[in-house]
């Protein structure tokens, strides 16, 4: 496998009327081609903002930290995403090397333009295809994602398709430009379990066929277990745990990850009580000092947790957590 993207010290703040809030705090990770990374966390944890920053898709009031470095390794050499300035330069990344699938496929397609026209439009922007070629490729992609009668569907509008079909069409559109990295933001959350299973299967097939990297954003740990190679867990803009999917799910090292797993109802033992994580995720305007999780943590060690931000420590090969439990000597970040 070859390195696809390196994210180093990603920090992102927003200027708002209520002050400057930190959405992403010093996040680093990397992804290989053909690898699926699950990005997990509650709403408000900053997982979507993190993923969108990879193509600088943020509102105008976004301020990146000075140390933020995002390097995309393409066939023609590395691209420093932070140095890209205007929309023309960003075109290589947005919809070119990186495609994005959203949660709600109904909101992602323009309602008054046919599915096919939208697919052709983006292909004409990102490739040298003629209109006829673009149409051919689009119909082929629709067929590839399991849409029956693709040439008829090509001429239809989003409202004429069912939820599952829309999400398939969305995937077809995102993949038709042959991106190197696919960001899937809760792509199955709005779907029924049976349809979710179909879409997950489809995405797994496509990874092995196209060899792209996928960042799979979801709050559903079951979906992660079924799709991801490795997992990054976020809480309040911080990366708290990173590791292979087996390590993180079987031997969670951070109390937050443990809490998420314990709160999950499973069918293995339907009599087991559900254990919620106490309290709510704090407002980004009132980020706790020290470890951001200390206000809800069940395993607080003492005053150190609210005083000192934990640094990432290795719990195992390819498995690290930002928690003082794994860094007893200290030294601080």
């Amino acid at each position: 496998m070859s390195r696809l993207i390196d994210v180093e010290n990603l920090t992102l703040q927003f200027d708002t009327d209520e002050g400057r809030i930190t959405a992403v705090d010093n996040v680093s990770f990397s992804l290989e081609a053909g690898e699926v990374m699950g990005l997990v966390g509650e709403s408000g944890s900053g997982k979507s903002v993190t993923a969108k920053s990879l193509m600088k898709l943020n509102p105008r009031n976004a301020v990146y930290g000075p140390d933020t470095k995002i390097t995309l390794h393409l066939d023609d050499g590395p691209i420093d995403v932070m140095s890209l300035q205007n929309d023309t330069e960003m075109k290589i990344v947005r919809g070119g090397a990186i495609s994005l699938i959203f949660q709600e496929p109904m909101a992602s397609f323009a309602p008054a333009i046919s599915i096919g026209e939208q697919m052709v439009e983006q292909l004409m922007i990102h490739t040298n295809f003629s209109k006829a070629q673009a149409k051919e490729v689009s119909v082929e992609m629709l067929d590839r994602v399991g849409i029956s009668d693709p040439s008829t569907r090509f001429g239809q509008y989003a409202f004429e398709l069912s939820g599952g079909m829309r999400q398939r069409a969305m995937i077809a559109m995102a993949l038709s430009t042959k991106p190197r990295l696919l960001i899937a933001d809760e792509p199955t959350t709005a779907l029924d379990v049976t349809i979710q299973a179909q879409v997950i299967d489809l995405m797994k097939d496509l990874v092995s066929e196209f060899g792209m990297g996928i960042i799979f954003i979801t709050h559903d740990l079951g979906v992660i277990a079924q799709t991801a190679d490795k997992v990054a867990v976020m809480y309040l803009g911080k990366l708290v745990e990173q590791g292979t999917v087996r390590d993180v799910i079987r031997r969670p090292a951070h109390p937050y990850t443990r809490g998420l797993l314990a709160a999950l109802p499973t069918l293995d033992d339907i009599d087991a009580p559900l254990t919620p994580i106490p309290g709510d995720i704090p407002s980004p305007l009132e980020r706790p000092s020290g470890c951001v999780y200390n206000t809800r943590c069940q395993e607080v060690l003492g005053p150190r947790c609210s005083a000192e931000a934990p640094r990432f420590s290795q719990v195992d090969t390819d498995h690290a957590a930002a928690c003082h439990l794994h860094d007893p000597q200290g030294g601080g970040a």
Binding site: E42, S43, S162, G163, G164, M165, D192, V193, T194, I195, Q196, A197, Q198, I200, D201, K204, H219, D220, L221, G222, V223, A225, Q226, A228, V245, R246, I249, G259, L260, L261, A263, L264, P265, T266, L267, I270, A272, P273, L274, T275, P276, I277, P278, D280, I281
Partner: protein
């Protein structure tokens, strides 16, 4: 559980008219077709199915919030007995205080212009259940405390609260009229797992504390398995299987129930792709297939399934299934 059921749907159908059909019988969509269920007092009754299965419509019909086209819904809490099909204006008003709904989206369900106190007090005022403001306040404070909302919370507006807290406000509003029957429609679907567990535990505690009966509508079978004592599975407006929770999850009889269970993503990363995958999607209720409604997607379908609609048969104690082949498939 042999007590009289609190609420019973008897061969209940909910039809919505379709446009067209100047000649011949008026066309309609059968959102719910010939469904019979009995919900025992004090039970936590789960209703599951994909979107389009009619579970929300059935829940609404049991609240008299959807038209009852055929059959009836009977409510009997020991104090009053109603036939929801033939309910007078005064009775309907009284029924509204006895049966309540908790919505899915705690962000859309609360008026941003009302304080939490006013939101919770509104049903009391609308229904005229309290006589003085002091009495209203007393009731609001009492029910808010049960939902872990303090006096300080009551003065604030909904925007100041997180999703989990908002859902607790919605629950307090549903409970304030001291209902007997609550329909919770996807009430935890919009919440994060960490908060979801908290709200589920709260619902369970309140149910036991106040002796309530719940109809819990959800697409999430793992949640249903944990909180419900009885489950009904719907597909395209029909009941396909109903059983005590333990029986349904340990020995599901209908191929649709089996497919739903196996579609739940396993938490074991080494258990990938073993799931029995269901092809296709739920058909449109405007044009349902003949015979068994599930035959177009059923991996077990035979010729008989394509012509003859299966009836509910007894598959065990309180366990009913509507499938022609359940017996041979169970062997």
């Amino acid at each position: 559980m042999s007590d009289n059921p609190l609420i019973t749907a008897q061969n209940l159908s909910v039809h919505y008219p379709l446009r067209g059909g100047l000649i011949g019988p008026k066309p309609y969509v059968g959102a719910v077709e010939n469904v019979s269920i009995e919900v025992a007092p004090g039970s936590f009754f789960g209703l599951v199915g994909e979107s389009g299965s009619g579970k929300t419509t059935l829940g609404r019909a049991m609240l008299r919030a959807a038209p009852i086209s055929k059959g009836d819904v009977l409510f009997d809490d020991g104090e009053v007995a109603y036939s929801l099909k033939n309910l007078g204006k005064k009775e309907l008003k009284d029924y509204r205080s006895r049966a309540q709904l908790i919505f899915q989206d705690p962000y859309a369900a609360l008026s941003p212009r009302m304080t939490v106190r006013d939101i919770i007090a509104e049903p009391l005022e609308v229904m005229g259940l309290t006589k003085t403001r002091a009495e209203t306040d007393e009731r609001v404070r009492e029910i808010a405390a049960k939902c872990r909302l303090n006096v300080e919370h009551l003065r604030r507006f909904p925007h100041a609260f997180s999703g989990g807290q908002r859902q607790r406000i919605s629950i307090a509003r549903a409970l304030v009229s001291a209902p007997k029957f609550i329909v919770a429609d996807e009430s935890v679907a919009a919440l994060d797992v960490s908060i979801q567990a908290d709200v589920l535990n709260l619902l369970k505690a309140i149910q036991q504390d106040m002796g309530l009966t719940f109809l819990f509508i959800s697409h999430d079978l793992s949640v249903v398995a944990h909180v419900c004592d009885h489950v009904a599975v719907m597909y395209l407006g029909r009941l396909v299987e109903t059983a005590p929770t333990r029986a349904l999850f340990s020995a599901p009889r209908h191929p649709y129930t089996q497919a739903l269970l196996s579609a739940i993503p396993s938490l074991d990363p080494d258990d990938r792709g073993k799931a029995q995958k269901l092809e296709g999607e739920i058909p449109s209720p405007t044009n349902p297939p003949p015979g068994c409604k599930f035959q177009t997607r059923c991996p077990m379908a035979i010729d008989r399934c394509r012509v003859e609609e299966p009836l509910l048969e007894t598959a065990g104690p309180e366990h009913n299934v509507a499938c022609h082949r359940w017996k041979e498939l169970a062997m």
